[in-house]
């Protein structure tokens, strides 16, 4: 009993901590439930009594409406998946191929080459000139490359990777060289296979960056065919009509006159649910890798 007093907090204190954490946990998750609940509610009850955690009258009409013509949603999913996959694959390869030579102690000019990356963390040209480079100089307005290129390389990840590569014994590289392996072979068959943990971590964070990005679309995309999932959600929030302006459902409403109302409140929230679905489902499986990744990053600071 006496030992408990020193090695653990008082049971009452422990209980209080649990209560605080349970309340905060609820606070973190519950807003999602509100959105889901509204999306499954009947439009009329929502308009009458506002958003409720428990639907007064259950209805899947918002989803039926949304998927009556799902062209735009499917297309947006396609854009997001394409951009995320291409960006992550290209980005992780490029960062690893920059970080590995930097980690080599015998590489001439590795100091200036490291500074070349550092400097981008210290100073940047600001939004206006960045925008002009992409739109005027590269002519990438309304190109998917404008969604991919800006997020390809993160200086911080290059530094984290370099630290990881440095810890791989240089004897392995020497041995491979004696066996007659070239630099590409050494990187591809010795270094990178040994670095799967760091590569996977960086890939995971890069996937998240691409999946959640809407800012590049806000800057560069005006073509409906290239609207990503996040950007579609943004546009739906601003103007629910956007989602329906060119769909059969909207035409149906137009032809039916005012008899059929656009269920805007519930459809808006249903759009949000359709948009965050993959993140919510993937989160329980991937969150521990993010925590691990954070640990690897924390070693560097």
């Amino acid at each position: 009993m006496l030992k408990r007093g020193l090695n653990s907090v008082h049971p009452a204190t422990g209980a209080l901590f649990h209560i605080i954490f349970i309340l905060y946990t609820i606070l973190c998750i519950v807003p999602i439930f509100l959105v889901v609940a509204v999306s499954f509610s009947d439009e009329l009850t929502v308009v009458a009594n506002g958003y409720q955690f428990i639907p007064e009258k259950f209805s899947t009409y918002a989803y039926e409406f949304l998927f009556k013509d799902s062209t735009q949603i499917l297309r947006s999913y396609g854009v997001t998946i394409l951009v995320t996959a291409t960006g992550t694959l290209l980005g992780v390869s490029m960062m690893a191929m920059y970080a590995y030579p930097l980690s080599r102690n015998d590489l001439p000019f590795r100091g200036p080459l490291a500074f070349f990356v550092f400097f981008t963390m210290l100073f940047n040209g600001g939004l206006v000139s960045f925008y002009l480079v992409y739109v005027r100089f590269l002519g990438l307005k309304n190109s998917l490359w404008a969604l991919i290129l800006p997020l390809l390389v993160a200086p911080f990840f290059i530094l984290v990777m370099r630290t990881f590569f440095k810890n791989i014994p240089s004897e392995l590289i020497e041995a491979a060289k004696i066996d007659g392996a070239g630099e590409f072979r050494i990187a591809g068959t010795v270094i990178f296979p040994l670095s799967v943990p760091i590569l996977a971590t960086v890939a995971l964070f890069t996937v998240l960056n691409y999946w959640n990005d809407w800012f590049m679309s806000l800057l560069f995309i005006s073509d409906d065919k290239k609207v990503s999932l996040q950007y579609l959600m943004y546009k739906t929030m601003l103007n629910i009509q956007y989602l329906t302006s060119n769909t059969q459902a909207a035409q149906g409403i137009a032809q039916g006159g005012s008899a059929v109302e656009l269920p805007s409140e519930t459809v808006r929230m249903a759009m949000c649910v359709v948009g965050i679905g993959p993140i919510v489902f993937a989160y329980p499986f991937f969150q521990r890798y993010f925590v691990k990744g954070l640990l690897i990053g924390a070693i560097k600071g």
């Binding site: 020193l6 090695n7 409720q52 030579p101 990356v117 480079v133 929230m269």
Partner: protein, 331 residues
């Protein structure tokens, strides 16, 4: 004996050859050495090109802040304008408002994130259950994974004037009138910091918990022998051990105090004009001046102002971090 002479002989002729080639020697081996590394440089090439486009070309583009950009002459052909763009910018009230908002919000964010996360981390550290702390951590970390667009939906679900949960359920419960949240500037200095904590505190908590694991157990064992309570251990051991990390983290964030979280200030207030006075920051100002108004003069002047002051702050904070703890400095 013979072998040694022979070895010596070979050695000396080698030296002679080196001396004969003397003049050209240094140059050619340097090139040969660089040439030997060509595959490594080739690997680095794609990133070099990309950083030139993404980061270095825009730096050159900062000069447009001193130009009077017009469509006829193009961006770089436009006439010089001296400091006129800056004169216009700083003669508006906006310049003061966006500077004040950016600095104050970021100061509150830095302090609140670190304090809340430290308290949570210390509390998590004391829980004896095996899987509950992991569950709490995972739930607290969750908002960090949502995009600001999603966050704007969640906030809207609570604060929407007509249907929002707060106006329909919470306020009537306390007998209060509904509030037009997206029209009233005075509430946002409280709403935005709360959302910031909600979104980011979990991230920093996980970060602190991770570094608590690295504190040596011997400190705690010695403390227990001396009869220190859990509270004393937390205050006298855990907190001081975390202080270097907290200091570095704070300084690095102060270095970025001139850069605001664009999503939080643009998406969450739904770009509502009525509340610009408490939601407009440098980043949103530059964006709106550029893409809504098409005003290259104002936006490039504000972007230049942010880049330069931002650079000075990042440089200073890193300089201090470097003095305190070399390992954690950026340069």
């Amino acid at each position: 004996m013979l072998a040694r002479i022979r070895a010596g002989g070979i050695y000396s002729t080698h030296l002679d050859a080196k001396r004969v080639n003397g003049l050209a020697y240094g140059q050619s081996t340097k090139w040969r050495k660089l040439l030997k590394f060509w595959p490594l440089y080739l690997m680095m090439l794609p990133t070099i090109v990309l950083l030139l486009i993404n980061n270095y070309l825009p730096i050159a583009g900062l000069i447009i802040a001193f130009k009077n950009v017009n469509y006829v002459d193009g961006v770089f052909g436009s006439p010089w304008n001296g400091l006129n763009n800056f004169k216009f910018l700083f003669s508006t009230r906006d310049a003061w408002i966006i500077t004040r908002n950016t600095l104050l919000y970021n100061a509150v964010f830095i302090a609140s994130n670190i304090i809340v996360a430290l308290i949570f981390a210390l509390m998590l550290n004391e829980l004896r259950s095996r899987w509950l702390p992991k569950f709490y951590q995972a739930s607290m970390f969750f908002p960090f994974f949502l995009s600001m667009v999603v966050v704007s939906y969640l906030v809207f679900a609570f604060l929407s004037k007509g249907n929002g949960f707060v106006n329909n359920n919470l306020l009537p419960f306390f007998g209060m009138e509904p509030i037009s949240w997206y029209q009233e500037p005075k509430y946002w200095p409280f709403i935005l910091p709360l959302i910031n904590i909600w979104k980011n505190a979990g991230y920093y908590t996980v970060f602190f918990v991770a570094s608590m694991v690295t504190i040596s157990h011997e400190y705690y064992e010695a403390a227990v022998i001396d009869g220190a309570s859990k509270w004393q251990q937390a205050i006298r051991i855990t907190l001081p051990q975390l202080m270097p990390l907290v200091t570095v983290l704070t300084l690095l964030q102060i270095g970025r105090i001139f850069y605001a979280d664009f999503g939080l200030f643009y998406q969450v207030p739904l770009n509502s004009g009525a509340i610009y006075s408490t939601t407009n920051v440098i980043d949103t100002y530059v964006y709106r001046a550029l893409l809504t108004l098409g005003d290259f003069g104002m936006s490039s002047a504000a972007a230049f102002y942010q880049s330069v002051v931002g650079f000075v702050l990042v440089f200073l904070s890193n300089y201090i971090v470097r003095k305190l703890d070399r390992e954690n400095a950026l340069f």
